[in-house]
Amino acid sequence: MASFSSTHFLFLAVAALWTLGLTAIAFVGGGLVGFAVALARISGNRILRITAAVYIQIIQGTPLLILLFLIYFGVAVIGFKTVPAILAAGVGLTVYSSGFLAEIWRGCIQAVPSTQWEAAECLALTRWQRMTRVILPQALRMATAPTVGFLVQIVKNTSLASVVGFVELAQAGKLINNSIFEPFTIFIVVAGFYFAICYPLSAWSRNLERKLNVSHR
C-alpha cells in the first residue's frame, strides 16, 4: 500500500488553491448581495425591510449543509439537467455569506452615531450623498475587522462544498484517504493547510480591531 507522498501533498496544495478560489467567489458574491440586503434592511420601505429581515433569519437559521443541498437540487428543479459542482458550491456559499455579511454591515451602518445622519441632513445632502459621503466611510472603518473575521468563517465553510462534489481541500483529503487510508496523517496535513490560510487572516482581523479600538469606545 502506498503511503503519503509528495504527490499527495501537491494534490492537496492544488486543492488549497480551489479553496481560495471558492472563498473569493463566496466573498465577492456574498459581499455584493449582502450589501444590498444590508441597505434593504435599513431602508425606509417597510416591505423591503421585512423581506430582508426574513431572508437573514432564514439563512442564519439553516445549516450551510442544508443550504448547499437545497441549491444543488433546486437548480435541477428549475430545469438544468446537470449542475456543475462549482456553480452549486459558489451559489450556496454566496447565499450563506450574504446573510451573515448583511447583518454585520447593517450593525456597522447603524452604529454610526445618529447625529451624523442629522448633521448630513442639515447640510441638505440627498439620501444618496448622505450614505456615500458621510455614513459609509465611517461604517467601513468599523466593518473592516469583523468582515476579515468572517472571511475566516468562509474559508472554513468552503470545506462543506465537498458534499456537492466540489474538490477543494477537505474533499481532496477524503479522496486521498480513500486510496491510501492514512486518515490521521492526511487530515493533519489538510488541517495544516487550513490553518496556514486562516491564521494570518485571524491575526490581521485582531490587529485591525486593536487599531480601531472599537471595543473600547
Binding site: 433569519q57 432564514i58 442564519q60 437559521g61 439553516t62 445549516p63 450551510l64 449543509l65 442544508i66 443550504l67 443541498f69 437545497l70 437540487f73 433546486g74 435541477a76 428543479v77 428549475i78 430545469g79 475566516v152 474559508v155 472554513k156 465553510n157 470545506s159 462543506l160 465537498s162 458534499v163 477537505a170 483529503g173 477524503k174 486518515p183 490521521f184 487530515f187 493533519i188 489538510v190 488541517a191 487550513y194 490553518f195 486562516c198 491564521y199 485571524s202
Partner: protein
C-alpha cells in the same frame, strides 16, 4: 395530475411538480432526527460550557504554561474547519484502538470544537469584571472560592450570555456536519429519506424549515433559562 388537494402542491416551477405527500410516511424518521439533533447539541452544549469555562479560567489565571497551551488550542480550533476536526476525531479515536459509535465521536468532535469558542467568550466576560469589584469583595472578607463564584464567574457569564446563546445556536446548526461521519441526526436522516424517495428538494425544504424552527426553540429555551438563573436581571429588567 389527480392528487388530493392540500397535501400536494401541483404548482410546479418550470414543469417540476412538488410532492410533499411522498414524504408523509417518513414523519417518524424526521421526528427521530430532530430529537437526535437536540440530544447531540444539548450534550455538547453542557459539556462545552463546563469545559470551556474551565479553559477560560485557566487562560486568565493559570500558570504561563497552561495559558500558552490553552491559547494554542483555541487558535488551532478556531482556524480549522469543523469538518476536518470531525474527521480527525473520528479516525483518531479509531487509530487509538477504541471503538465508539458515530454519535459518540460526533459529540466528542463538537465538544472539542465548541470548548474553544466558549472559552474565548467566557474569557471576555471574565476580563470585563472590574478590579475594584475584587478588592471590594476582598474587603468584605469573602474567601477566594466565594469571590470566584459570586463576584467573578456569575456576573461574567451573565454579561456574555447573549453571545453564548448565539454560539450554541450555531453549534446546533453545525451538528448537521456530523452527518458526514454518519451520526444519525436530522441531516443524516434527510440524506437517507431523499435517496429512498428521490424527492430531494422537498426533503431538504422540510429539513430546512425544521432547522429554522429548532433554532427558534433553542433561542427561546436559552432566554427562559436565563430568566430563571439570572434573578437580578428578571427583577430589575436591566442588563448587567
Amino acid at each position: 395530475m389527480t392528487a388530493p388537494k392540500g397535501l400536494v402542491s401541483t404548482g410546479g416551477v418550470m414543469g417540476y411538480h412538488f410532492d410533499f405527500a411522498a414524504l408523509l410516511p417518513y414523519w417518524r424518521e424526521f421526528a427521530r432526527g430532530v430529537l437526535l439533533t437536540l440530544q447531540l447539541s444539548a450534550l455538547s452544549t453542557v459539556l462545552g460550557f463546563v469545559l470551556g469555562t474551565i479553559c477560560a479560567i485557566g487562560r486568565t489565571d493559570g500558570t504561563r504554561l497552561i495559558r500558552t497551551c490553552i491559547a494554542a488550542y483555541v487558535e488551532i480550533i478556531r482556524n480549522t474547519p469543523l469538518l476536518v476536526q470531525i474527521f480527525l476525531v473520528y479516525f483518531g479515536i479509531a487509530t487509538l484502538g477504541i471503538h465508539v459509535s458515530a454519535n459518540m465521536a460526533a459529540v466528542t468532535a463538537l465538544v472539542v470544537n465548541v470548548v474553544a469558542y466558549t472559552s474565548e467568550i467566557v474569557r471576555a466576560g471574565l476580563e470585563s469584571i472590574h478590579k475594584a469589584q475584587l478588592e471590594a469583595a476582598d474587603c468584605l472578607g469573602l474567601s477566594r472560592p466565594q469571590i470566584y463564584w459570586h463576584v467573578i464567574l456569575r456576573p461574567a457569564i451573565e454579561r456574555v450570555y447573549p453571545a453564548l446563546t448565539s454560539q450554541y445556536v450555531l453549534l446546533m446548526l453545525a451538528s448537521s456536519i456530523t452527518s458526514q461521519i454518519s451520526a444519525e441526526e436530522l441531516t443524516a436522516v434527510a440524506n437517507r429519506i431523499q435517496s429512498d424517495t428521490f424527492r430531494s428538494f422537498e426533503t431538504y425544504i422540510i429539513v430546512g424549515i425544521l432547522y429554522i424552527a429548532l433554532s427558534f426553540v433553542v433561542r427561546i429555551a436559552f432566554w427562559a433559562f436565563g430568566q430563571t438563573i439570572f434573578v437580578r436581571r428578571r427583577k430589575l429588567h436591566t442588563p448587567l
